[in-house]
Amino acid sequence: MRLTGAEIIWESLMHEGCDLVFGYPGGAILPTYDALSKYPQVHHVLTRHEQGATHMADGYARATGRVGVVMATSGPGATNLVTGIATAIMDSSPIVAITGQVPSSAIGTDAFQETDVTGITLPITKHNYLVADVRDLAATLREAFHVARTGRPGPVLVDVPKDIQIATTEFEYPTEPIRLRGYRPLGAASPEQVAAAAKLLRTARRPLILAGHGVLMSGAVRELREFAESAQIPIALTLLGKGAISEHHPLCLGMMGMHGEAYTNNAIQEADLLLAFGMRFDDRVTGNLATYAKKSRKIHVDIDPSEINKNVKVDVGIAGDLRAVLQQLLPVARREADPAWMARIQEWKKETTARDVIHEQAGDKLLAAHVIRDLWRFTGGDAITVTDVGQHQMWEAQYYPHERPHTLITSGGLGTMGFGLPAAIGAKMGRPGEEVWAIVGDGGFQMTMAELATCVQERVELKVAIINNGYLGMVRQWQEFFYEERYNASPMVNPDFCKIADAYGIPAVRVTRREEVEDAVARARAHEGGPIVLEFVVEKHDVVYPMVPSGATLNAMIRRPAATPEMV
């Protein structure tokens, strides 16, 4: 079958199981868009900005576990992908980006809308390709999907010059196994590694599991629970690890790190054995490395060998697929819990609960933490939530416990403001049967709010909760704590978000009192046929507690002031 390069792109996408592409056309990718009408099996979502398209592909990938696909033209189209690609690589999200490029003969001449996108994205892609011959196109796309979804997943970019989209060749999708000499995703651990881990496990009195995104990515949720239950070891979660185990499980201690609960961070500092599963000891979870978890030996399992001994020196490092490794470790996991260790954690937990903002009477104030808690209650704790970045993100992590994997989607590593709305669109389109909420701040929302139009055009039944405090809240919080309350460039004069929604034809509800939250959430849940916006006007000068100041010791936290008389 003789096909053009453009047709080969769509054929290859279909062979890879892709039926949804987020993108934005332009000159150098037009031949491919022209061929789209021959492939009704693939649905193309026109976004309002290429950054939005990349975040949608990312959100889709995180919600479904499949590869998200984004398409853009050369030059500015391609450079607008950069933030989204960098977001995806930091959180190991599998996406394939296909960009048009100026014709091969014009490459290097500074032609109109030419940019060296493979050069620009070299440090932020897992791998990238510039296709030089139409005969290589199908194999290259196939390889791109393979690299994106296997091993430690990540973004892969394929740059296709315009003449290659037009050129024709005999098409047959390759079927032989992909063999990349320099790329062999890892599997199980060696018997020596299992034995070494078992030895540390046998003698541990105060063990603690640190569960990260890798648990979800490797599909090891069941294995993690079985391991933890069999060995009676409590589990602390990273932000992206939320959903690795139900947060209502008695062994789950919730989120660790900069805004983790004090009892979780205390447990890390006091443990005598840390089992780090699919996490990478980011500075936001370790605080000061020189004082981090000094009393513990460490076992680290990660699919990426370069993560082992990168930030924290470990006693047993196992580079491998977490699911396979946990299956190997399960037979050696049986041990009795040390009641003293569990009791200590419970004691810390009690002390933390006493300070919890949840028990605070807000009076006529609407506190963001209360909004998130109510969202959790009135959605039955079962929605997929997609957050933006900042205070609301941390409150989500603290007050919306997740029970199922892949139900929290958030930009952890890169901390990309503007991620929330488009990623939520991608998530909802990937899992239309689920209730999906975008929880965003007023700052981040305004970075990508043009995607409301995409939402309307695609009739995406997304619920958007804007937590509006009229500030770049986390910036304001740092200025309050560390810059003597000089609030430079953090107050925001905002538009009327309900009118904005109205202009897009989206119903909107403004909530200013806690009593109104329940009705607003109920109305949003009942809404069908498209998106709905809820604006929560919350207390401006609120702070996320507790907080480990950047670079401080993990359990040297700024705590919520102790119980006040108004507290219940």
Binding site: L122, R181, G182, Y183, L186, A290, N309, V316, G317
Partner: protein, 193 residues
Amino acid sequence: MEIPTGSGHPVRTSKHVLTALVENRPGVLSRVANLFRRRNFNIDSLTVGRTHRDDLSRMTLVMDGSQEEVERLEKNLYKLINVIHVEHMTDRPSLYRDLALIKVAVSGETRREVHQLAEIFRARIVDVSPESMIIELTGEESKIENFTDLLRPFGIVEMVRTGVVAMGRGEHTLEHDSYQPRAGVLGSRKSVL
């Protein structure tokens, strides 16, 4: 060399030579070079050349750093899809060679002296003109450095070096197809993602 660290304990650094077998494709050199900048590695020298196989190139990297840094470099090299195999040459008996071309100023009186020095070092005189000579010297880095120190008083006009290339002695070869990840308890398992 000792460099101070935050904890107050000096970390011992030394010269390490790594050899990498890579796919002979456009852009591979820039991927490797970018890695040094991206991950903040200090590289003394990097050479790239073809091998006896069309599809493979071989790189030699010289780095001054601690054992941990070298392991980190090795693991990061493996993250590049085009890098097939990496070996730490300083771990085993290996040959190191660097080639230098040195243009040295000479006059009637000094010409003979320079010639004698070249003979002692088994260097070759490859170009002679009334005021200068070009000397070609191959050897380990230290040999080249000793030789240039001796030539310096005569006046080195120009000099170029290729950078170090390395090869394991005896039966040892860099594997290219049959490579299997090596397992180690301490997380030193050498493989790709």
